[in-house]
């Protein structure tokens, strides 16, 4: 059973906020005892998603949650915006792998860097991406 032990929210309105998200994620990852490579992967994923939220979502929020499942601990990051939304999610996920430009890489890349990945998006409503990395 997954429990949320701690939750912290950050606003993403300007590019300095992307840096702030990275630093906050790094702090939590270190506190959870993530190894260096795991830290790097989750912080990089958060940077990608925060940038997406800013550049394509018109700004939004990042929620950082510390999870506990049985004896495993993990970090969940949820990025939400009220932006234009993504019409074709499947395409957005695959584009990233080949094009290496724009939003595509951010989504596909973050998925590869995380253990769990979920995305909800509705054109005209907004987007919510959540990733989990376990220790």
């Amino acid at each position: 059973m997954i429990r949320v032990l701690n939750s912290e929210s950050l606003e993403i309105r300007a590019s300095e906020d992307v840096v702030a998200v990275r630093q906050a994620v790094r702090k939590k990852a270190v506190a959870l005892g993530f190894g260096l490579v795991d830290q790097t992967k989750v912080v990089t994923a958060s940077s990608e998603l925060a940038r997406n939220t800013l550049d394509h979502g018109g700004g939004g929020t990042a929620r950082l949650e510390i999870l506990e499942n049985d004896r495993r601990s993990g970090l969940r990051l949820v990025f939400e915006d009220q932006g234009p939304g993504i019409a074709d999610i499947a395409q957005a996920l695959t584009d990233g792998y080949t094009s290496g430009s724009g939003m595509g890489l951010g989504l596909g890349g973050s998925k590869r860097l995380a253990h769990e990945f979920e995305i909800e998006s509705e054109p005209g409503i907004g987007t919510k991406v959540s990733i989990v990395r376990w220790r």
């Binding site: 590019s15 840096v19 490579v37 790097t40 990089t44 940038r51 290496g100 890489l105 951010g106 890349g109």
Partner: protein, 130 residues
């Protein structure tokens, strides 16, 4: 205004990235760099990222842009000092750093630039020097 310093080392330019880059800073860097390449007729650019613990697709793209711009201005770019965790993450991220030369450190980076200039000189034997 905040800007990344560019150091002139003979015919090479050395950029050491130590801070978290944001759009404005990246843009300023690209501008400053192109100016200086032309000003000093630099043949090689060394970008030291050994202090970067995170390299995301934004930074990756920036490095690619710098390499492409420099090539247009007849200068080779070598990115040096990538940290192991960063390298593993970039591979996982799927970021293709094609067209960007890399080296372990500044010293080796200069070696790479030197030998590629040597090659260029041999290739361009028949062309005249300015």
């Amino acid at each position: 205004m905040e800007r990344i310093p560019i150091l002139k080392m003979g015919q090479y330019l050395l950029i050491t990235i130590q801070v978290d880059m944001h759009d404005k800073l990246a843009f300023t860097l690209q501008n400053d760099l192109t100016e200086q390449i032309v000003l000093y007729k630099s043949k090689g650019i060394l970008i030291d990222i050994s202090a970067l613990e995170i390299v995301d697709s934004f930074i990756g793209r920036m490095l690619g842009i710098i390499a492409s711009m420099s090539r247009l201005l007849d200068a080779e770019t070598v990115v040096v000092g990538m940290q192991p965790a960063v390298a593993s993450t970039l591979v996982e991220l799927g970021m293709s750093m094609k067209g960007i030369r890399t080296a372990l450190n500044v010293e080796k980076g200069m070696e790479v630039l030197r030998s590629s200039l040597e090659e260029a000189r041999h290739d361009g034997d028949s062309s005249s020097e300015f």
